[in-house]
Amino acid sequence: MLTLRIIPCLDVRDGRVVKGVKFQNLRDAGDPADQAAAYEGQDADEICILDVSATIEGRENQNPTIRAVRRNVSIPITAGGGVREVADARQLLQSGADKVSVNSAAVARPELLSDLAARFGVQCVVLAIDASREEDGHWVVRTHSGTSKAPLDAVEWAAKGAELGAGEILLTSWDRDGTREGYDLDLLRAVRGAVNVPIIASGGADSAKHMAEAVEAGADAVLAASIFHDGDTTVSSVKEELAALGVEVRR
C-alpha cells in the first residue's frame, strides 16, 4: 500500500523562501534549491513550491527557481502560485515540475482544471483550496492568498474540482496556517467524504502526532512548512515518530 507522504512546502517570493503566519509578515528562510536538496536528504517524499511573489517582476523568478530545484532533487516537485492558464502550467512542467497546483484561477474559471487534465493528465493537476470556517460550521473558499472569500463551499468545490480533472486536492486550513495547532480534522473528514482523489493536508502541523491524526481523518499526504524551516525537527525524525505511531512511511 501507499506510504504517507511528507511534503515540505517552500513558499517562494522573488526567488527566496519565505515564511509567515497567514501569508503575512513574511521573513526570509533561505535558498529554495539548497533547502529542497536538504529535505530530500532527510527522506522528504515530495517538494511543494508555491510562488507568493506580490509583483510580476518577482514572479519572473518562478521558472528559474523550479529549474534550480529540479537540478538538485530526484523526487516529485509540485509547483504553484500564479498559474492562470495552460501555458503557465506548461512552462512550469518544462522547467522541471511534475505537478502543477492551481488555486484562484480555477475558482474564477473552473474549466481550467479540465483543460489542464486534458493536456497533461489528471495526475499532473493539483487543486489547492484555502478554506476557512464560517460561524455556521461550513468552510468557505478563500482566494488571492487568502485575502478574499469566494462564494463557494470548500467541500462542494473539492468535489467539483475532482470531477473536472483535479487528481489531487491540496487542502489548506486558513484558520490553522502557521499556528501549529494541528490540522483541521473536521475539514479533512468532510472533504474525504466528498472525493476519491488523494488529499494533502495542510495548515497547522506541529508534530508527528498531528500528522497521524490527519491520516486518521483521511489525508494521504501531509504538508508542513514552519516546523521544518525553523529547524525544530527534520523530516527523518518526524518519519521515525510516525512509524512508532504505526503509520507506514518510506525510510
Partner: protein, 207 residues
C-alpha cells in the same frame, strides 16, 4: 553516451532528462523513424493519455521502428504511460491498439482505493532478478497492467516486478535490453537513480 527521447506530445520530459544526465546519459529529442531504430538507447517517456500518445507514434511513423527495437531487445526504456503503451489494449481508450509487445490489457484501478494511485509504494523484485531490487518507488497512475498478466508475460520471457494496490499489478518488466517501469524511476530518489545506472551498465555491451 546518448539516449534518444521520443516526443509523445504532452509528456513532461524535463524530470526524466535531468535524472538521465545525472546517471551519465545525454538525452536528445528524436522524431525520425530511422533514428529511433539506429539510436543506441531510446526513452519512451512519462506522462499523457494512451490514445493521444499512440496517435502521435503512428503519425510520426515511430510505431514500427519502436516495435522492432523492443522485439530485438535493444536498449529501450519506457516510463509510466510508456509501459502501458507496450500492452495490447487499454481501458483508458477502448478500440485503440497499443504497441503490443506485452501480452496484457491495461485496466483502471478499482474505485475501492484512491485513484490516481499517487505516491510511494513498495516494488517487489522477482526472487532471482539482477536488474531491480525491492524498494520504494514513486507512482502517479490511474491505470495499470493487472497482476493476472504476470504468467503470460513470464512465458514470453519478461522478468516481472510487482506492486500491491488493491491487488498485485505490474510495476516493471525487463527483457534483454528493454526495461519498462510503471513508476517514475527519475522521481524515486536514490533507489530510482540506482535502477537507471544498473540499466545503463548492463546494456553497455549491446550498444
Amino acid at each position: 553516451m546518448n539516449i534518444a527521447v521520443i516526443d509523445t506530445g504532452s509528456a513532461n520530459t524535463r524530470s526524466v532528462e535531468t535524472a538521465l544526465r545525472r546517471v551519465g546519459l545525454e538525452p536528445t529529442a528524436v522524431d525520425d523513424p530511422g533514428d529511433v531504430l539506429a539510436a543506441d538507447r531510446v526513452l519512451l517517456p512519462g506522462v499523457g493519455a494512451f490514445g493521444a500518445a499512440m496517435d502521435q507514434l503512428r503519425r510520426q511513423e515511430l510505431l514500427e521502428p519502436l516495435r522492432e527495437r523492443l522485439r530485438a531487445g535493444w536498449p529501450t526504456l519506457a516510463v509510466c504511460i510508456g509501459l502501458q503503451l507496450l500492452a495490447r489494449t487499454s481501458e483508458e481508450e477502448n478500440g485503440i491498439e497499443g504497441v503490443g509487445v506485452l501480452d496484457a490489457a491495461v485496466g483502471r484501478f478499482e474505485s475501492s482505493v484512491r485513484v490516481p494511485h499517487m505516491g510511494w509504494n513498495r516494488v517487489h523484485a522477482p526472487a532471482t532478478a539482477q536488474w531491480i531490487t525491492t524498494g520504494y518507488a514513486y507512482f502517479a497512475n490511474s491505470y495499470r497492467v493487472p497482476g493476472t498478466s504476470k504468467d503470460a508475460l513470464e512465458t514470453d520471457g519478461w522478468s516481472v516486478a510487482t506492486c500491491d494496490y488493491a491487488g498485485d499489478f505490474v510495476a516493471a518488466v525487463s527483457r534483454e535490453g528493454v526495461m519498462a517501469c510503471q513508476f517514475h524511476p527519475e522521481l524515486s530518489g536514490r533507489w530510482g537513480l540506482d535502477l537507471l545506472s544498473a540499466w545503463i551498465e548492463r546494456t553497455k555491451e549491446t550498444v
